[in-house]
Symmetry: C5
Subunit: 322 residues, 5 copies
Amino acid sequence: MHAHVIEAGQVRQIRDPDAIREAHAAGRHLWVEIGDPSATTEAFLTSTFGVHPLIVEDIFGERSVPKIDEFDTHLYIVVHAIGPARDPLVADVGLLDVVIGDTFVLTQHREGPATGLLLDRLQRNPKLLERGPAWLAHAFIDGLVDRYEPYMNALRQRIDAVEEHVLLRAGLADGKDLLPELFALRRVIQALCRTTDHQRQILRRLSRGDLAQIPDDCRLYFRDVYDHFTRVDEHAEDYKDAITSLVDAYLTVQSNRMNETVKRLTLMSTVLLPLNFIASFYGMNFKNMPELSWPWGRAFAVAEMFALALLVWGWFKTKKWV
Amino acid sequence: MHAHVIEAGQVRQIRDPDAIREAHAAGRHLWVEIGDPSATTEAFLTSTFGVHPLIVEDIFGERSVPKIDEFDTHLYIVVHAIGPARDPLVADVGLLDVVIGDTFVLTQHREGPATGLLLDRLQRNPKLLERGPAWLAHAFIDGLVDRYEPYMNALRQRIDAVEEHVLLRAGLADGKDLLPELFALRRVIQALCRTTDHQRQILRRLSRGDLAQIPDDCRLYFRDVYDHFTRVDEHAEDYKDAITSLVDAYLTVQSNRMNETVKRLTLMSTVLLPLNFIASFYGMNFKNMPELSWPWGRAFAVAEMFALALLVWGWFKTKKWV
Amino acid sequence: MHAHVIEAGQVRQIRDPDAIREAHAAGRHLWVEIGDPSATTEAFLTSTFGVHPLIVEDIFGERSVPKIDEFDTHLYIVVHAIGPARDPLVADVGLLDVVIGDTFVLTQHREGPATGLLLDRLQRNPKLLERGPAWLAHAFIDGLVDRYEPYMNALRQRIDAVEEHVLLRAGLADGKDLLPELFALRRVIQALCRTTDHQRQILRRLSRGDLAQIPDDCRLYFRDVYDHFTRVDEHAEDYKDAITSLVDAYLTVQSNRMNETVKRLTLMSTVLLPLNFIASFYGMNFKNMPELSWPWGRAFAVAEMFALALLVWGWFKTKKWV
Amino acid sequence: MHAHVIEAGQVRQIRDPDAIREAHAAGRHLWVEIGDPSATTEAFLTSTFGVHPLIVEDIFGERSVPKIDEFDTHLYIVVHAIGPARDPLVADVGLLDVVIGDTFVLTQHREGPATGLLLDRLQRNPKLLERGPAWLAHAFIDGLVDRYEPYMNALRQRIDAVEEHVLLRAGLADGKDLLPELFALRRVIQALCRTTDHQRQILRRLSRGDLAQIPDDCRLYFRDVYDHFTRVDEHAEDYKDAITSLVDAYLTVQSNRMNETVKRLTLMSTVLLPLNFIASFYGMNFKNMPELSWPWGRAFAVAEMFALALLVWGWFKTKKWV
Amino acid sequence: MHAHVIEAGQVRQIRDPDAIREAHAAGRHLWVEIGDPSATTEAFLTSTFGVHPLIVEDIFGERSVPKIDEFDTHLYIVVHAIGPARDPLVADVGLLDVVIGDTFVLTQHREGPATGLLLDRLQRNPKLLERGPAWLAHAFIDGLVDRYEPYMNALRQRIDAVEEHVLLRAGLADGKDLLPELFALRRVIQALCRTTDHQRQILRRLSRGDLAQIPDDCRLYFRDVYDHFTRVDEHAEDYKDAITSLVDAYLTVQSNRMNETVKRLTLMSTVLLPLNFIASFYGMNFKNMPELSWPWGRAFAVAEMFALALLVWGWFKTKKWV
């Protein structure tokens, strides 16, 4: 656990618990990174900052869904952060717990890409902390939300690639079995939709005027974040629709392409069958088959075959079967 | 950046920033086209018209979704404009930012078909600006919304053409592969639905009585625009349904038409197979096959073939398979 | 334009604009049929009855969707009328514009079946006009709504006929290509649902207690109309569901019936193939085939064929394939 | 028309209209069964009990959907009753009209199973009428709602039977054509859902505290009925989902089972074809075919056939096609 | 029926009804397990604790859906408990009835896994009862809700196993008929969704501030339970979606894999057919077929066959059919 405080326009770290307590008692604006759980830390949070036991339990408990809980003197927010993943199927998802008090912001993040980002934000604009905890929390959350965009783009490209494969190659011999990928994509997007939906509701809550911890002028900035994230959420919904219809399309296109092949093969058989019949016909052992002795008999049979094959083919053409 | 002001019933342009500031200070009604972004322009907007930094950021930032944001003294609206496209799959979409103040309207448009339209509107009816900024904004927005209709019609025709192709030719030899077009149409319509839905909510918001910048008598006119746009939105929804069911229908019709072909080919084989069997039968080398020596043996075999073929065909007919 | 007024319990027509103006000024209850658009008429409506320009524009403009608009002193309602059509696919749809003022009802209808109906309603019960404009408007709207029922029944019968065809004949040789009809039906029903949904909302609005032009005792009667129309709307929704699932069922049933045919044809081939093989077998030219010289050799081969055919058939039977 | 009144704890019938009027005027609690429509009855209802003309019209008019209408002094409720049907596809549906006044309950039922039930309810507990009209109405409605359960169970069993048939036999030779039954079931369930949905809304309305005719302690009992009926409504929704997915599953399972058959038949052909080829091969008339003269030539050919058949079969096995 | 009371920090049981009545009259906090129904018990509940007859009826009646009913002085809650099942298809579901009064909690559970759990909860933290009935009820409900998690995990694993089977083996010879399992899963999940949806609404109701029996500080803890259960509910919804799309995917994948087999078999036939034709051709009995007498005639025919087979195969390759 270490706190950040602004001194002479510079970010300074305080690591000593007593010093943190002192600074808090002096009414100075603080940003505290909570760090690893321990009985001491838990007690410190409760005694010094008056954090509700339920918040402490959630911060150190198993990771959960995005949410916003209003307590008497604190606002507890859990937001999802997402990192720029190489493979969108393995999203680098992290959670950031934010507690907004009247003079302090507590944050907790263990995994995920949020760690460096937050300090960077503060260092680039130390005034944020002076302005108030809500402004700092806004900067943190805005930073996390911005990182959704590259992930969404990577996902879009992946879906486009799958769609192109479905349109051009599904059901052909060089078509891959896309079903596992489609199912994996659907699962990822389903989870993403859940998250973005929760997150959007949190941001909408923050951008409305009914939270004591968010001053009115800051609320406009949260509304801006909400507007941006609405786009992310809508893209997620679009991807969900896209993947659902892609699964359907893939299976049907695959089926149709195979049926197309079967149709063409059957066509070939159907052209060959009459020829075969003629050959069998002249293979009958009747005594009384004078054409067998004709000098042009064989040529006549071959001509019959050609004629029949052309006839059948032409008939197919007029029927638009081939 | 240049402003439009009404003088003696005529639209006059002011290009000098100081003159604009003066006219504004004098309380004259202004329409300002913002133009290219620059630090000067941004400062001018904030200092002269008191535009909120978030609006400035949005106006010059990356283009975004339609929205309406209420600030203390301004109303900020982003609407989509759509031009008459040759190919509805390549919609000529532009964005118009409108800021309504108490005595001025600021607009910003870079791409898209809005540019000439706005000036034309004002010149046809210069009184609009005298009447107040809300009336001018109404004229602008009404003009943009009207241009949706030709686009929607072009889209409808395209969908109808695809539908006709599906009904008449899918799965036949002269049927095109419609899947890429159907997928492209779906994507376009999905984006369109998003936009029209946002835009409709903006117009509904404008047509209700809770915005300080819109006077009551002007509100009725916004309600009229809302009514018209509701139709556009509903058409977009209808197109979405239509395209979804067209994809399904296309794939199934294609499959059924191919199966129909396979069925007919199989029918032909099934009629030929017994004939072939008879020919093979009389090709057996048994010594004791007296019919081989009959003078009418061959004719008898051919008669058998004909009879069998007719029998099979007739049986198919009674079963309604052919 | 001509007005209807009640004199001594009889409906009397006034055609002279000045007389109409006089009667209106005298506070008499009037029903005015507006008729063809002209500058004079428009001016008359605005000056005499104080109709808002937006209403005038809508009345004479292009035909639009059902809606209800509340103005300061008027209530403007647009309802759909539907006539008893021979072919439900070509619905005889008309629009009736109704403006309810404090002492008058203005109506406008050009196409459609409403014309005679309205006068008939008034003549059957002239007291309606005396009672107040809301009562007359109720009678008109009630009459239009009643006419939906025969149309809905015709539509139901058409859908039932198509459903029966799908269940009994789709995919057989005497089955028609129902797809164009199904698509046409879907489009008609989709439009119908839009209309009935709008209309139902209008009627709900009329049956609630927040419109100044509708007195409380009349409101109960509008609620009755709303209840009746709710049924129409629900039927329309049911038809929409029915047609959607019919399209699916039609395509799949067609496919299954064709596959059934292919299966039976393949069955025949599969029974014949072993026979053919036996015939080919005894057509081999090996010297050492003693059965060829047996006196019962041929009979033996035929017996083999019969046995094999029965065996294969029996096997299929036990597998429940036939 | 006859009224029921409680005298000394016993239910007594009054059939004389004047006696009914007298009892009503004396403020006694009455339950009146309205019976066949006549001008006298209509006039009696209006004059004696002050029933609104719209209620009278609805009671004697064509049968309609469940609804609840609040009038100044009366509450008018229409509920659906359903009888225990042998065949759930032919539901024995009836309607009960209930009018609740301050001292009386009017009921009307012509068809359906409600008739005996109501009297039975009252006779088992005559105090109900003494307690007030709302309590009697509750007893009636509770009794009707209870009868939904056996019907729902019968429907469930029918659906289960169809589902089992789909899972085990669809597409096999002993599988019935379930499509007509599935479509009939869907139509019945669709209508049922409509009714239960309306009815549930009525019961919810009755169980809330905003109806003057329902005292607060009785309202708790209506809430209990609402809770029970919610289950009926949810079952109806479940059945709707079940039948929709059953139609899909049936058609696809049927298709797959037939394709399975075709696959196996094609397999047989594919095993036989090489054998046939070998037989044809040795049926060629080339002079230079020494194996034809070998003493073991024929046996060799048969061995070839066996080997080839085994090879093909084994290949299929490793490919998991059989 | 036996009551639990806290004495000197220890849980003590009272089994004598009079003693229970006495303790209740003395205002001591009680937890009463109701046990088997009997007229005595029912009377005791009503007379001593003032429980409403409707609650008594529900507690001893047939088991019903989760619900929450607010009575004047009591809060009646029915929650679902679920035990850790070996086979998620046979969920070990139980119901717990909880009545919260001002100084007591009544519970009723007959079947299911709740029995031991409750006592265990109280013994681990006897202060709960001292703190108030709402806190004890919270502990009970929290305990039940926690047990959903292992069940949900077991269900997830089952669905994953089925999904893997669908992706890898459906339609192959070693693929099981998954349809019965999929239908069973869907039914279980459908019921689960109903329950979790009801339960979530109950918990939301408990976590809001409008119930007199739940003090404000306890409400925060119910909100925590609600947050956790929301996840369970969302998982249930996800499973429902997953199973629905799995049924579709299973049937289509099965169909496609079989068609794939048919395609390959047809390919083999199509390669063999020309060879057969060549053999039949040289089996014709024409006199004038000089190649029959060529010494290399047979070899030439075999070469023709090879060449033709290669040609056909190569053609298929370039068409990407194989």
